[in-house]
């Protein structure tokens, strides 16, 4: 299993149908396994960081042997996407089960999701904003996903997207501002 990741990546690179989906599932499985192992071992005391998760998955799947920035890019994009989906599913579940679609964002002290509810909303807002932004700025959105969901550093992102760190920084600053602007303006409206 460890050496097969290259095959998945090559398939994506060649643009084979269904290759992206297959890669995503592969990475997703790996992430879930790692998370389960770690959580079981440490009794939930230390929560895993996305950075750790993704990098551990990368190593487990034999990422060290993967050559070429494009392949690395496809792997980390898939990881970011897997993380994003996990979070969004989680947020949706919480939102629907606890609130029955109410739009209020006030703290409800009796609610046992005291703190997590506003975050769930924010996360879903962010996802909407990202979808919106992707239409005009797909590259920027890619940087955001790698940074936010896969916990990659600017230097790592620069490497796998094959642009300079300075450019990556600029993408990040612009995207962050754009998204924040979009999210705060829909909030007001």
């Amino acid at each position: 299993m460890t050496n097969s990741i290259t095959q998945y990546l090559e398939a994506v690179r060649r643009g084979e149908p269904g290759a992206s989906q297959a890669l995503l599932e592969k990475v997703y499985d790996s992430l879930r396994q790692i998370a389960a192992n770690r959580l079981g071992r440490e009794h939930g005391r230390e929560v895993l960081q996305p950075t750790e998760l993704v990098h551990e998955a990368w190593l487990r799947l034999g990422g060290n042997e993967v050559t070429g920035w494009e392949n690395r890019f496809h792997f980390f994009s898939a990881a970011a996407e897997a993380m994003r989906r996990t979070l969004i599913d989680n947020a949706r579940r919480k939102q629907s089960s606890k609130r029955g679609g109410a739009q209020s964002k006030q703290y409800v002290l009796s609610d046992d999701d005291l703190v997590t509810l506003p975050l769930a909303d924010e996360l879903l807002d962010l996802d909407d904003a990202l979808l919106d932004m992707e239409k005009t700025y797909p590259i920027h959105v890619q940087v955001v996903k790698l940074k936010f969901y896969a916990g990659m550093t600017m230097a790592e992102i620069a490497e796998v997207t094959n642009v300079s760190v300075a450019t990556t920084e600029r993408y990040w600053v612009f995207a962050k501002t754009w998204l924040h602007h979009r999210m705060s303006s829909t909030e007001d409206a």
């Binding site: 975050l119 700025y137 916990g151 600053v173 602007h181």
Partner: protein, 726 residues
């Protein structure tokens, strides 16, 4: 260009104005695009204000992940250790505070502080556990005690604290029970005392604000405030870096009560004066009902700490806030509150010891933006408030007096000498010292401060004196140049006048053949004498304007001379009788020069002589410039074969050069000329001794000095001449 390109280009600029200009330029006529990018830039700006609560979720991925993978639920009824959660009573950036019921070993209500889910990074954990250690160090009735420290099932720590029953914040309390200004000040005095206790134990609270100062919500004669939340307190331990646990990257704190240095500087450089600031803001709010920023700034606009507007704003004195009716829209601050406080203040002015003005000064001193201008300790603030309550003179007024003293010295610095200024300062200091010796012991500190300030003033005076000296030196050299110039001008005009007069008297004339085209005087005036080896800096005399004046003057003079001379002498050929001077500029000065050369001009005073005369009036006797002119005169006399005259000029110039330190080559030159003058008179022994003197000077001068070889060869020439004459 696309939006993102323009945006990224714009944020390269520092100021908002520059950014705007950049976007305007790059968008050109596209107003829609400009609007789009500009609103993004405003968002960007807001996101970078530390005191703006617009941190993006994008900056907090850790929080998101931790929160979602956290299974524990904090809800009323949940059991944590021996405590049952009852209700949430407070929330900070990283923690939640519940009222909780302790079940064992005794039943009582406590305040239970728990980390928020997702907040268990090593740093936050370290700080959290430090908080109860901090509180344990402080044993004071005004600081809630920690009963218990524990760890939840999920590994997160919590601690149980003494609960202030039906607690109100200090401002709420003052409102609820309609406290008078004096009572409000007493509340703050009591608060100061607690903070001072903490400071004495090396702990800076750093987050003093109404919600962290609680008072039991029942009417009391002397309400005792309780300080809570030492969550971002800083432990001052000289040489101990462990205190930095509390300081790394702490951007917490509450903007309205946060000192500028806390907002702008690294957390580690914060000292107790930061708490003084927060207490000042609190006092301001207790008196006026709003914080200085709310009262003074247009609350509709965000003023980040870094903005120029913030640093330019001056807080309204509290008394002025109450007069102002305009800005009463702060949410926590109703019109009624303001009015009731206003009424209270009205009588406060009479019944309280001090005047409203004094209270203004105390408040403004506490919230000075520069911490050097604040009360240096909370105790100082507390004492001054106490003095105010007792109707004693307050320290806050002090700097005004000192300021006036400083001003006085500064005003008089110009006329009194620096020493005079120092003396006056010292006299005033001793008067002040004597005066304050009669005051209470508390005034001692004040005098010390003033002495310090006076010393600073003295230092300033000394600095100023140095500067004045330097300026004097510069203006002296400038003055010299101007003097020399004006003397030259005067000499020149006198010289020209004399020629003119001579011409009118008909003293000029006879043969005009083969005279030099330009008179020697101009040569000497515009450049040093040809025979001079070492030449002074005559650049100022060679200005084009001056040369022009000379030429024109000579033209006119010569014309006059020609006029005066031609009818009587009648030696000009008939075809030249319509004055060649007018046609040929070269021949005009020639006529004047001829007149001098022919010695028909009786006074025979050369320009150099006139210049010398004038220079002696304005320059010191031994000025090097006089020596230069003396050399010129001496040379002139030698050239005109009057060595006795030359001797007089040159022996004086030798004397001057001897006294001057840095003119060895000039000295050698003058000595050589003097030797020549002796030689021409046949005074061989004198000439011989002068030559050996010159030899010595040349020896001192060394061979590498400029002109030394020319001087040497001149020396050898004279020596050869002397030995041949002998």
């Amino acid at each position: 260009m696309s939006d993102d390109e323009i945006f990224c280009a714009a944020i390269e600029n520092e100021s908002k104005e520059e950014q705007r200009a950049c976007v305007e330029t790059l968008c050109g006529d596209n107003a829609e695009q400009f609007q789009r990018i500009w609103s993004l830039l405003e968002t960007h700006h807001k996101m970078h204000c530390r005191d703006h609560d617009s941190q993006s979720i994008l900056d907090r991925p850790d929080l998101v992940f931790r929160t979602f993978s956290d299974e524990s639920k904090l809800a009323p009824g949940k059991l944590i250790g021996n405590y049952v959660l009852c209700e949430l009573i407070g929330e900070g950036a990283t923690s939640l505070v519940f009222r909780a019921r302790q079940t064992k070993p005794i039943e009582r209500d406590v305040a239970l502080k728990i980390l928020k889910p997702g907040m268990d990074s090593q740093r936050i954990l370290a700080r959290f556990s430090l908080e109860h250690q901090v509180i344990n160090r402080l044993e004071h009735a005004g600081i809630t005690t920690v009963f218990d420290v524990g760890v939840q099932d999920n590994g997160r720590p919590f601690f149980a604290m003494e609960l202030v029953p039906s607690a109100l914040t200090i401002t709420q309390y003052a409102e609820r029970f309609q406290l008078s200004i004096q009572q409000r000040i007493d509340l703050l005095i009591a608060t100061c005392e607690i903070i001072q206790h903490a400071h004495q134990r090396g702990i800076i609270h750093r987050d003093l604000k109404p919600t962290n100062i609680l008072i039991e919500g029942v009417p009391q004669d002397s309400p005792s405030p309780r300080i809570i939340d030492f969550g971002i307190a800083k432990v001052m331990q000289p040489g101990d870096d462990s205190s930095s646990v509390t300081t790394i990257g702490d951007r917490f704190g509450t903007p309205a009560y946060m000192s500028p240095e806390q907002a702008l500087m690294s957390a580690s450089s914060i000292d107790i004066r930061s708490d003084v600031y927060s207490l000042g803001v609190l006092l301001y709010e207790l008196i006026t009902g709003s914080t200085p920023r709310d009262a003074s700034l247009d609350s509709a606009i965000e003023y980040p700490w870094t903005s120029e507007a913030y640093w330019q704003y001056t807080p309204l004195p509290p008394s002025r806030v109450q007069e102002s009716h305009s800005k009463l829209d702060a949410a926590h601050d109703s019109m009624e509150t303001r009015r009731s406080i206003r009424q209270k203040t009205a009588f406060a002015g009479k019944s309280a010891g001090g005047s409203m003005h004094e209270l203004d000064l105390i408040v403004l001193k506490s919230i000075a933006k520069d911490r050097e201008d604040r009360y240096q300790t909370v105790a100082d603030l507390q004492r001054d408030l106490q003095r105010f309550r007792n109707g004693e003179p307050v320290e806050a007024v002090g700097p005004g007096l000192l300021y006036r003293l400083k001003k006085w010295i500064v005003r008089n610095r110009g006329i009194s000498t620096a020493v005079g200024g120092l003396l006056i300062t010292i006299v005033i200091t001793s008067i002040l010292t004597t005066y304050y010796a009669f005051r209470t012991r508390q005034a001692e500190q004040q005098v010390r401060n003033q002495l310090q300030a006076t010393l600073n003033t003295q230092k300033e005076v000394l600095l100023e004196r140095d500067r004045a000296k330097e300026a004097m030196r510069q203006s002296q050299s400038l003055l010299r140049v101007l003097q020399v110039q004006s003397v030259t001008d005067r000499s020149l005009s006198r010289f020209l006048q004399k020629i003119l007069e001579s011409a009118q008297r008909g003293e000029i004339g006879t043969e005009s053949t083969n005279a030099p085209a330009i008179p020697i005087e101009i040569e000497v005036l515009t450049k040093p004498h040809d025979r001079l080896i070492v030449r002074g800096d005559w650049t100022w005399t060679s200005s084009r304007l001056l040369s022009e004046i000379i030429n024109t003057s000579f033209k006119i003079t010569s014309r006059e001379a020609a006029k005066a001379w031609s009818p009587t002498q009648n030696t000009l050929p008939a075809d030249q009788s319509n004055s060649p001077a007018i046609q040929s500029p070269d021949s005009a000065p020639a006529i004047a020069e001829t007149a001098i050369e022919n010695r028909q001009w009786k006074n025979r005073e050369s320009f150099q002589h006139l210049l010398l005369e004038e220079l002696r009036l304005v320059l010191p006797q031994h000025d090097p410039f006089i020596a230069e002119v003396l050399d010129n005169c001496g040379l002139q006399a030698l050239d005109k074969n009057r060595p006795d005259e030359a001797e007089a000029f040159l022996s004086e110039s030798v004397q001057i050069w001897e006294e001057s330190q840095n003119h060895l080559s000039n000295l050698a030159q003058s000595e050589l000329f003097l030797a020549e003058a002796y030689l021409r008179q046949g005074k061989h022994s004198l000439s011989d001794s002068m030559l050996s003197q010159a030899d010595q000077t040349l020896g001192k001068l060394g061979d590498s000095a400029p002109h030394s070889s020319e001087l040497r060869s001149f020396y050898r020439q004279l020596q050869a001449e002397l030995s041949s004459q002998k």
